[in-house]
């Protein structure tokens, strides 16, 4: 793995490599915060959650019908039509792919990110269209009168809790909630803190981050 990562960097363009040089690599980051956790498995074995299972879980948890949850070009199912093979599926009748890929393809994380972004964008859009049936982006972001200058902490906490509960089916730790809350400032990005658009972006991207996390992808 080390070698592949290392050599994979040879393909990075000048522009991106320059950007990347200012941002620590994921592996380094993970290593940096890794601590000798008492829960570390001595024989860590995880399985990749193939695309169909992944989408069915999200469909059930985010309350979007499976056949509507992710459409490429507004008409091709993300799993069945677009990314079935790179997301670990099989398709024997036409593509003759009888076995899932043995390890994630170079395009697998990109496809997974794309699917997660589709799903979360879709969910927040539906929440805005029918607030009374909202799942993630619920009312009260800026207080009961919707006039607060910044997001209501209780609302943020509740939203973070809902995202983790919906996507990963568990309650987040306090640290995880704080991570999402602090992420709001990054999403704000110079815009007014009490902008509904900022709040919607925060919910969408928080959902994306959780839905494409390692915990969501593997089991």
């Amino acid at each position: 793995m080390k070698i592949s990562y290392h050599l994979g960097l040879l393909s990075v363009s000048v522009l991106v490599a320059a950007c990347a040089s200012s941002a620590p690599s994921p592996q380094t980051d993970l290593a940096a915060v890794e601590s000798p956790a008492p829960v570390a498995s001595s024989d860590p074995r995880v399985k990749f959650k193939d695309g169909e299972r992944y989408l069915r879980d999200l469909s059930a948890n985010l309350q979007i019908p499976r056949d509507e949850i992710c459409k490429e070009l507004s008409q091709y199912d993300c799993m069945t039509d677009a990314f079935r093979i790179v997301l670990g599926g099989v398709e024997a009748p036409n593509l003759l792919v009888n076995d899932p890929i043995e390890s994630a393809a170079l395009t697998s994380p990109i496809a997974l990110d794309r699917v997660a972004l589709h799903v979360c964008t879709n969910r927040v859009k539906l929440d805005q269209e029918k607030p009374e049936q909202a799942v993630l982006f619920q009312a009260g972001a800026f207080g009961k009168k919707d006039k607060a200058k910044k997001p209501d902490p209780a609302w943020m906490h509740q939203t973070a809790d809902t995202i983790y509960g919906s996507v990963l089916m568990r309650t987040p730790s306090e640290q995880e909630v704080q991570n999402l809350v602090s992420f709001y400032d990054q999403v704000r990005d110079g815009r007014a803190a009490n902008s509904k658009e900022v709040a919607a972006d925060w919910v969408t991207l928080s959902c994306f981050a959780v839905a494409s996390s390692l915990e969501a992808v593997f089991y």
């Binding site: 994979g8 960097l9 363009s13 570390a40 398709e91 036409n94 999403v187």
Partner: protein, 506 residues
């Protein structure tokens, strides 16, 4: 890992610009191996495996024989003298038939045009395999029967030249032994084949953001990715528990800079073969087709309904844009009909069957017709690929074709016997055969080996001189070695034989 830049890195970026491959080396500077990898990537050789599912038989093509040349011609697969053409050292069969065995579908097939046009780069080698099981024999055609640590030719090519390429080894055809992963697990992850099963939608998997309508801005999306990678995941109990998993390590490695490298090349646009249309509403989703899409679609006008033409079109784009150093394509087991053909309405017209079911293996029903039809199809694809590759400059006046090889990999030959003087007959699987290789690096213009007139089985050649050697049979490792060495792949320590005769130059 260092993010320093070296002079060589920039030189390399500049030199690969012609290929459209922006490459930035962040390799550990001063490491000889890295420098060597960079140098090889600057001067790649491209391997195109045009797989020929079902047994592409040489004695039905470039090694065909006239009835007048074969003592037992009535019961062996020798052709009427009038059908066999001599073009240099090669033979060619042009055949027009009213049927494909029992299928009432007429067709016209031609081999001679390709031979006349490309004979200088054509090399036919004889060999005898070790399996008549489709899948096993397909695997052995690309790994030489585990000739070199179980590495496939595609993996060896990607290992040698692919370090600077976003996706060095792409498999456009799937479900065959020609694209089966090799057994050497010690190589970098990028070496192994990446499946691209659907040429129209696969490019969408090359960018995590573009085309997702209604999503927050790209900048915010990238922040969310960084937030996930740097804060959210590391703080989770899941990560602390399973961070030692190889799968988790692999995932976190490829979703980092390697991922951004693929996206930075804007491959979602460059490789988008299909134009904006009702079926592919690109513009409405903030996407657009490739700049060279029109040119490629003109070369492969049936890309919409013929999977092989779509594969070939994408294969060219992968090479042209410096994405890959090896691509594997080919027909699978599916029948392909001309667009608009309606079955069950009174017979098929001329050329309505583009690809018979099970491809070359339909020779079980009608050997000569199927071999003619399928060879015609494969040669047409190869000719168009070569033409496109010749039309694009790689660097310094060299075309992409000047650096390419097409290997018509096939699993075995077909049995040589036929009912007395039959024109239409079925054939079985036969270990003995040969392969067509087309490349400026191959010993072009030559047939290496020959055909025994008593059996119509092929015999081998001297590995050094290429002189025919009746009684000798070339092995799978020898074929593998000859191809690898023609591609200038360093096989030191492998004990593979030197097959000097298969190379144009030493």
């Amino acid at each position: 890992m260092t993010s320093l830049w070296s002079r060589r890195s920039f030189l390399r970026n500049a030199s690969l610009g012609a290929a459209g491959a922006a490459v930035a080396a962040q390799a550990s500077q001063g490491a000889y191996a890295d420098e060597a990898a960079i140098e090889r990537a600057r001067n790649p050789r491209f391997l195109i495996v045009l797989s020929s599912f079902g047994g592409a038989n040489q004695v039905d093509a470039f090694l065909s024989r006239r009835e007048s040349e074969i003592p037992n011609a009535a019961t062996l697969n020798a052709y009427p003298d009038s059908l066999v053409q001599n073009i240099g050292e090669f033979r060619a069969i042009d055949l027009k038939s009213p049927t494909i065995g029992a299928i009432p579908a007429s067709f016209t097939a031609n081999q001679s045009n390709f031979v006349r046009k490309h004979s200088n780069d054509m090399m036919v080698i004889t060999h005898t395999g070790t399996s008549v099981n489709h899948f096993v024999a397909q695997q052995r055609s690309i790994n030489g029967n585990a000739a070199w640590l179980g590495r496939t030719l595609q993996e060896a090519t990607a290992l040698t030249y692919g370090a600077g390429y976003p996706i060095p080894n792409v498999h456009l055809v799937n479900g065959t032994g020609f694209t089966e992963r090799g057994t050497d697990e010690t190589m970098p992850a990028y070496v192994y084949g990446e499946r691209a099963p659907t040429p129209n939608l696969w490019p969408l998997s090359l960018d995590g953001y573009k085309g997702v309508v209604g999503a927050p801005s790209r900048g915010l999306f990238e922040k969310a990715r960084a937030f996930r990678n740097e804060q959210l995941d590391p703080s989770s109990a899941f990560y602390r528990t399973f961070s030692g998993s190889q799968r988790v390590k692999h995932w976190t490695s490829i979703r980092g800079d390697a991922l951004r490298g693929v996206e930075a090349e804007d491959l979602i646009t460059k490789l988008m073969l299909f134009p904006d249309s009702e079926a592919m509403p690109l513009t409405a989703h903030g996407l657009k087709g490739s700049e060279i899409g029109q040119k490629v679609r003109e070369a492969f006008p049936n890309y919409e309904f013929d999977p092989l033409e779509a594969q070939a079109a994408l294969a060219f784009m992968l090479l042209r844009y410096g994405v890959s150093v090896t691509v594997t394509l080919g027909p699978d087991g599916s029948a392909v009909f001309k667009k608009g053909v309606k079955l069950g309405e009174g017979g098929l017209g001329e050329g309505d069957i583009v690809n018979p079911p099970i491809s070359f293996d339909f020779s079980h029903q009608a050997n000569r017709e199927v071999q003619a039809l399928m060879w015609n199809r494969q040669l047409m694809i190869a000719d168009r690929l070569i033409t496109l590759l010749k039309s694009e400059e790689f660097r310094d006046g060299q075309s992409f074709w000047d650096r390419s090889m097409i290997y018509f990999a096939t699993e075995f030959g077909r049995t040589r016997r036929r009912p007395n003087n039959a024109m239409t007959f079925g054939s079985g699987h036969e270990l003995n055969n040969g392969s067509l290789i087309v490349s400026p690096f191959a010993n072009g213009g030559h047939v290496l080996g020959g055909v025994d007139p008593d059996t119509m089985l092929t015999y081998g050649f001297d590995p050094e001189t290429g002189r025919p050697e009746p009684g000798r049979h070339m092995t799978e490792p020898e074929v593998y070695s000859g191809i690898a060495h023609a591609l200038n792949i360093d096989t030191s320590g492998s004990a593979l034989p030197d097959m000097r005769a298969m190379r144009r130059s030493a």
